[in-house]
């Protein structure tokens, strides 16, 4: 068994495999299928200051090797999370990280402050890239200036590990990564969903109630991997790679490109046990390649 430990800021992961926010519920939903304590971390659902009903139905459409979603940050708000969900999940022996979303800087700050008080939550992932809500944060993630502003504000009130989740719907993602690094982010995670769309030609209506939605799944992997590679070259903080990881080989591509850890999203829907298979697959690859430490392959792309 190779050493799979990695670090993201002060965060210690037993292995680089985490689950992506919005695709793994609060972890509990998968407890019947896998031993959650084997995961490097669980990114729980996007959490906002106040309760949100999310977008109207329909919220999902299948696309070639992927899917569009327009959930729109449905959640019961940070207080409900802290009071009802947190006590239930805080005993899971892995890193539980809260994905924090907002429509205003004040929202982000207030939510982050609340989460900071939860002892068993070692990190937040600041979602400045949700494409499914009018003021859902994507606007923050599409310019260096607004990304800096929100990260700076949250950094002041949030002392633990601060991960910033970047939007791929930009001309130069590495620039934005540099901007948030400069404001004290401990890590960046990328990519959130690509903005996409689908039409039902019979009804001539959009497949999603919001017309456009977020594209995820295997189809986005080439774009995600490219962005992770570009970002890893641009920043010194650890990068968490995600987008279209469907199996261990996909995960290894992200690690070779320089990601310190990875997240698995849509693949959980197709195989609820995929996270464990990816952990085992990474280990098998390391043994095959004669490596005894995951760090031997992180950033190991030869080019």
């Amino acid at each position: 068994m190779a050493n799979l430990n990695v670090e993201i800021g002060n965060l210690k992961l037993k292995n680089p495999v985490m689950t992506a926010s919005g695709t793994f519920g609060y972890g509990e939903e998968f407890a019947d299928f896998i031993d959650l304590s084997r995961l490097g971390g669980i990114l729980v659902k996007g959490t906002t200051l106040h309760h949100r009903e999310g977008n109207p139905y329909p919220r999902m459409a299948e696309t070639p090797a992927g899917m569009l979603n327009a959930v729109g940050l449905q959640n019961k708000g940070v207080n409900y999370f802290a009071e009802t969900i947190y006590p239930r999940i805080c005993t899971i022996d892995t890193n539980i990280i809260v994905n924090v979303s907002g429509s205003t800087i004040e929202d982000y700050i207030a939510t982050a402050e609340k989460i900071a008080q939860l002892e068993q939550i070692p990190a937040i992932e600041l979602n400045i890239s949700c494409p499914n809500v009018k003021e859902g944060g994507m606007a923050f993630g599409t310019s260096c200036k607004s990304a800096s502003t929100v990260v700076k504000a949250v950094r002041k009130v949030y002392p633990k590990t601060l991960i910033v989740k970047l939007s791929p719907n930009v001309t130069d993602i590495a620039e934005i990564a540099k901007a948030v690094e400069a404001e004290g982010a401990d890590s960046v995670s990328l990519i959130n969903t690509l903005l996409g769309m689908a039409i039902n030609v019979k009804t001539r209506r959009p497949m999603l109630s919001t017309v456009t939605g977020g594209l995820s799944g295997a189809c986005v992997k080439p774009v995600a991997l490219r962005m992770v590679w570009q970002t890893c070259k641009a920043v010194r903080i650890p990068v968490i790679g995600l987008g279209g990881i469907m199996n261990a080989m996909d995960a290894i591509e992200f690690l070779l490109a320089g990601a310190t850890a990875i997240q698995i999203g849509t693949a959980n829907f197709i195989d609820p046990q995929i996270t464990i298979k990816v952990i085992d697959g990474i280990n098998a690859y390391l043994e095959e390649q004669g490596c005894d430490d995951i760090k031997d392959i992180i950033g190991g792309l030869i080019c």
């Binding site: 939903e29 998968f30 019947d32 299928f33 009903e53 609820p272």
Partner: protein, 265 residues
């Protein structure tokens, strides 16, 4: 509404038999690979099937539990061929392995009074969950009746099985079997006062049934469909608007009491 907190499994099941009921419907009977007992499943629950070999099918497909035969240790799925995924699934042959997540969702609830008059209304492929529900009700000592609706005689499926479980009424749109018209027009609704109605079928049909039930103060549960990604309440893609806000059809449903829904009926 009972929220079934049952353990879920990812299983590789083996096709035992396949029957083409009709060019658009296939009945697949599955069993475990090594003779282990199938997990407990409740009527109204569904499975998420992985479709291998269809290049255009990325996500699993939700399919209702049509029947669980405890004796032969078989799970039945009744599949209507609508797109690439269901067509590919229908190509499975005896011996083939199909991966499923199961059992998913809540289930139908049962009245306290075993003497209640119960009507199970199925339209089209919506009859699928009614068979297992009917059998379960009968096993528990209830006396279910069935009302099946379809376009024409060819689309009335598993009639023999339904008849063996209780009184079975039929409507077809072309009158080729039973009474002509829609289920809500069947004369039995005038003759018998039902205490409970369970229904599954096309949404317009279920809405008509729900309206009839509401107008006649009948307790009514419907089985809803929705576009699903995860099937286990993790992604929040499959919401229905209820009086309690958005809830997931895959987890808090697919069975809903009509009083919970915000349908305009």
């Amino acid at each position: 509404m009972l929220f079934a907190q049952m353990k879920k499994y990812v299983l590789d099941l083996k096709v035992n038999t396949k029957t083409h009921l009709h060019e658009n419907y296939v009945l697949l009977k599955f069993t475990t690979q090594n003779g282990e007992q199938l997990p407990d499943m409740l009527p109204g629950q569904f499975v998420e099937v992985r479709i291998d070999g269809s290049p255009t099918t990325f996500l699993r497909r939700p399919i209702s539990i049509n029947y669980v035969d405890k004796k032969s240790n078989e799970l039945w799925l009744l599949i209507q061929l609508v797109g690439a995924g269901t067509r590919q699934l229908a190509m499975a042959e005896p011996g083939n392995i199909v991966n499923m997540v199961l059992p998913l969702g809540n289930s139908f609830t049962f009245p306290e009074n075993k003497r209640n008059e119960l009507l199970l209304i199925g339209g089209g492929v919506g009859i699928a969950p009614m068979l297992y529900l009917g059998q379960t009700l009968k096993n528990k000592g209830y006396t279910p009746s069935f009302l099946l609706g379809a376009r024409s005689i060819r689309d009335i499926l598993q009639l023999k099985e339904f008849k063996s479980l209780g009184e079975t009424y039929i409507t077809t749109e072309d009158g080729s079997l039973g009474e002509r018209g829609y289920v809500t027009q069947h004369s039995v609704l005038q003759k018998i006062h039902f205490d409970y109605i369970y229904t599954c079928g096309p949404k317009p049909m279920m809405m008509a049934v729900a309206k009839y039930a509401r107008n006649n103060n009948i307790c009514c549960e419907v089985s809803l469909e929705n576009m699903m990604a995860c099937g286990i309440g993790a992604c929040l893609c499959c919401v229905e608007n209820t009086i309690e806000g958005h809830v997931c059809v895959c987890k808090e449903g697919p069975i809903f009491n009509i009083n919970k829904l915000s349908w305009q009926i």
